[in-house]
């Protein structure tokens, strides 16, 4: 008798960006069946507050935001849930910024602007597909 494949785990995703257009774009464009968008936030401070309630598994995170930037936000959310998978989605295209984000604990970096395919490839890679 062959083993029944284990259903793949559903993952709860949060989108953090100060641009409403960008939040809606990411939500609309992401096609991964394993990902369910459970919340959005407009800056790092808002993200930390909502993160405590939602405890998402995956997070897309802008860096340049008012109130609290993305790098600081990474440090806060990792203290709340150390295994959250974080994809930084930022226009800051210098290598040093990407390296800093990864060193702080982010798991991936996608540079704006991006196509739908690039977003979905980055999310798939983030969750190990």
């Amino acid at each position: 008798m062959s083993a029944v494949p284990k259903p793949r785990e559903q993952l709860r995703m949060m989108i953090v960006d100060d641009s409403n257009v960008m939040r809606r774009r990411i939500e609309r464009s992401q096609q991964n069946e394993r990902l369910e968008v459970v919340g959005t936030a407009v800056n790092g401070l808002d993200a930390v507050t909502k993160f405590k309630q939602l405890l998402p598994d995956v997070m897309t995170l802008d860096l340049t935001m008012p109130e609290m930037d993305g790098i600081e936000c990474v440090e806060h959310v990792l203290k709340i849930k150390a295994d959250v998978l974080i994809l930084v989605v930022s226009a800051l295209a210098d290598k040093a910024t990407a390296v800093e984000a990864i060193e702080k604990g982010a798991n991936g970096f996608l540079c704006k602007p991006f196509t739908d395919d690039q977003l979905n490839e980055a999310l798939a890679e983030l969750i190990g597909e």
């Binding site: 100060d18 641009s19 409403n20 257009v21 960008m22 809606r24 774009r25 609309r28 464009s29 340049t64 935001m65 008012p66 930022s90 226009a91 800051l92 295209a93 210098d94 040093a96 910024t97 540079c111 704006k112 602007p113 991006f114 196509t115």
Partner: protein, 149 residues
């Protein structure tokens, strides 16, 4: 003051933005030095303050019709005032942020300030000389304006 190579950074960033984000290529006219700054402010402007190893401003200014069509090309159904303002800031933010690939991480960009016809000329005015990069996208004309010390 910008040199030709630095202007090229913003030209390439602008071309890349339109092609990638909207799926429609933009053509860029010859950049020129601006004397009459009010002449390059359109319906909306997204203004980014620059600090760190350079000081100044970068702004993207466009007519409302163009911003609405850009939203539609990005499959955004809500082309209302809030999203139009949001988009003009996001374009300015993206072009400025991408410039760090060449200018380095000490080219520090602010979050965008959004202006409309009531205050755009004041908010976008710069103290130094500005380079204007004319953009033609579909049937619309817009500008990226770069003023860096």
């Amino acid at each position: 003051m910008l040199d030709a190579e630095e202007v090229r950074t913003f030209v390439q960033g602008t071309v890349h933005f339109f092609e990638t984000a909207t799926g429609h290529a933009a053509t860029v006219g010859s950049p020129y030095l601006c004397i009459d700054k009010s002449a390059v402010v359109q319906d909306y402007a997204g203004v980014i303050g620059i600090s760190g190893n350079r000081e100044g401003k970068v702004y993207f200014t466009a007519p409302r019709g163009m911003l609405s069509v850009m939203l539609m090309c990005m499959n955004e159904t809500d082309t209302g005032e809030q999203n139009v303002r949001d988009l003009v800031g996001e374009v300015a933010n993206t072009i400025s942020g991408n410039a760090r690939r060449d200018f380095g991480r000490n080219f520090i960009i602010s979050t965008p300030t959004i202006c409309d016809r009531t205050n755009a000329a004041t908010a976008a005015a710069t103290t130094g000389r500005s380079f204007v990069i004319p953009i033609n996208w579909r049937s619309y004309a817009a500008n990226v304006v770069v003023c860096l010390q």
